[in-house]
Symmetry: C3
């Protein structure tokens, strides 16, 4: 039973929230899901972290995430490494063996021709994975080469290719990348231009910092899709979505 | 038994320390209390977080906090939401049912007339709750409208109304609010003016950041009441209070 | 078994990594070691924290750290406090009783004559402890009095005295100290001058922040010794060392 259930704050918000797992212990995951397992539906094993520990822990974690209807996937960096090594078929098979139910296709650290990208998205879909694709470069200088128009074009192309959700790169830091300036503030003009030209329910904004989450909620809506949330901040984000925190109280 | 007990650092400091719980798992709480349960005596379930998870977890956590003589309460935001909904009696009853032993009365996100505030403090006291009241606005622009003189007046009025402890708002960030400038530095003139005009053992300073904790300890004393401490920083704060860390070693 | 083992990223890197324990619970430690226990070999109970909780927890934690071949020691601040109290023999005996296998000799918060420092290093070694010594002052103003030449001289003297590893102070914050400016950026000229004049495998750089870890890895090598790593960041650091994260992918 929920506490304080005489307050009218319980309508389920239809949205997507993605949390980063950068090496969480299994018992920690079990414990924190009891508190916040209803408030996110994607877990990303950040970048190449899932290579570094025993596969039995990955399988265990994926099972418990799955029991909360949380889709799991590895960071796109691992996909890119597999592609560089010419081992994409092995990559998809291994993701399946480990219990990952989603795949991220990205080119944040490497160069992948557009037609190959399109093929990878299709291949992941055909194999039954929920397929996310990411727009953005890890290196800020390279990322800044993308104009807003280019980002919009890339988003819409990915959706045409069959991507289920398109992620806008924000990294773990949320600074000097994508729609964020070097202090982590949202560049509102860029945000609004993108929002006007894409289907918003198909976009997931990586927004690790609270000020970014607030700006997205207040400008796009409390059902905006948000990713790269720290595991300690899931409940905080949900209170922002529902106006249960000063920053959004009375505004959502 | 304590380690290194030949060092003369074990006198209990009579003070109040308040920690934020923004959605901690039950087993995590059990585990971390074994390390630091002697070093704080208030736990605040931040803002409206306690609405979002099963009441059985709240009850369990309140019981284990209680076993360490740690008083629990919900963030004032939840009190304000209940007040807005005209459900204050239900709020107090529910807090009691869940095992909360303290109440925070605040107007950080809403407007509450002074006489109503006074009544709420009395009502909470009459119901047997340890009663904290908070001075400050969540919105920095509104908070800046308070002069230091006004803050002093409000503090003393709350104490006259029966408040057991008056909290000075610092938020989770500790920036651009109350006695903190936009970089989170303590504005010393403001601090000193308040300290000279209120009973210091009745004030709790929200001070989430280490530099703030150091400034408060070195300027007010190592028994200054400090709140909004991160659950990972309880032991760190206690070492600062006791001169067990470079920043205060030889100075307290 | 490791996941994604068709990728060629599994060669063990011969290096030293030191993590700070600033009051971790026992079960948390057990849980997180299953994920990252292979990727660090020193644990430091920061500054004077180990005084504050029951010695049975310290012994338990030291046993489980030991089972992963992770050497444990108390922060140098505790050594300095014992020295100030004239209780160095008691300090070494107590460290042994609690299962600490290493000792840090420092003068970050106090003044210790050079010949006494040399004696302490020898004494710790003779007692069978792995012996680390630290160069740097906790107080930034005092720390800035050290020229780079002086740091180099002190490092080499400590090594002559028998120190197994010399730590360059970076504090928990990594700002305005040692080789870091007040924003936490590495001062490259200072770094390079030190690196050219000392045996690098004998130096451990305290580098709590990701940008610092990246700069050290890209400038000194992926086997650079790094310390003051947050317990949440062990896996992240190892991905940086191996080129499994965008920042170092293709560069190590």
């Amino acid at each position: 039973m929920r506490a304080f259930n005489f307050l009218d704050k319980f309508d389920k918000i239809e949205t997507n929230t993605m949390v980063i797992d950068k090496g969480l212990g299994y018992h920690y995951v079990e414990d924190f899901l009891k508190v916040c397992g209803d408030y996110f539906n994607f877990i990303k094993y950040g970048w190449g972290t899932s290579i570094l520990y025993d596969d039995s822990i990955i399988k265990q974690k994926n099972e418990v995430y799955d029991s909360y209807d949380i889709k799991s996937y590895t960071g796109g960096t691992l996909f890119e490494l597999a592609n560089n090594a010419g081992k994409i078929d092995e990559f998809f098979a291994e993701a399946d063996r480990l219990g990952f139910s989603a795949i991220e296709i990205s080119d944040g650290s490497t160069v992948i021709p557009e037609d190959e990208r399109r093929e990878f998205i299709k291949q992941a879909k055909d194999l039954g994975f929920f397929t996310l694709s990411e727009i953005g470069k890890k290196n800020p200088e390279k990322d800044h080469e993308y104009t807003t128009e280019k980002r919009i074009e890339l988003i819409n192309k990915d959706l045409e290719s069959g991507s289920d959700l398109v992620i806008i790169e924000g990294r773990e830091s949320g600074k000097n990348i994508g729609i964020y300036d070097d202090k982590g503030n949202v560049m509102m003009d860029d945000l609004k231009e993108i929002v006007s030209n894409v289907p918003n329910n198909k976009i997931m904004w990586e927004a690790p910092n609270k000020n970014q989450q607030i700006d997205l909620i207040l400008n796009i809506g409390n059902d905006v899709n948000i990713g790269n949330v720290n595991s300690n901040d899931v409940i905080s984000l949900e209170t922002l979505r529902r106006g249960l925190r000063g920053d959004t109280l009375g505004k959502v």
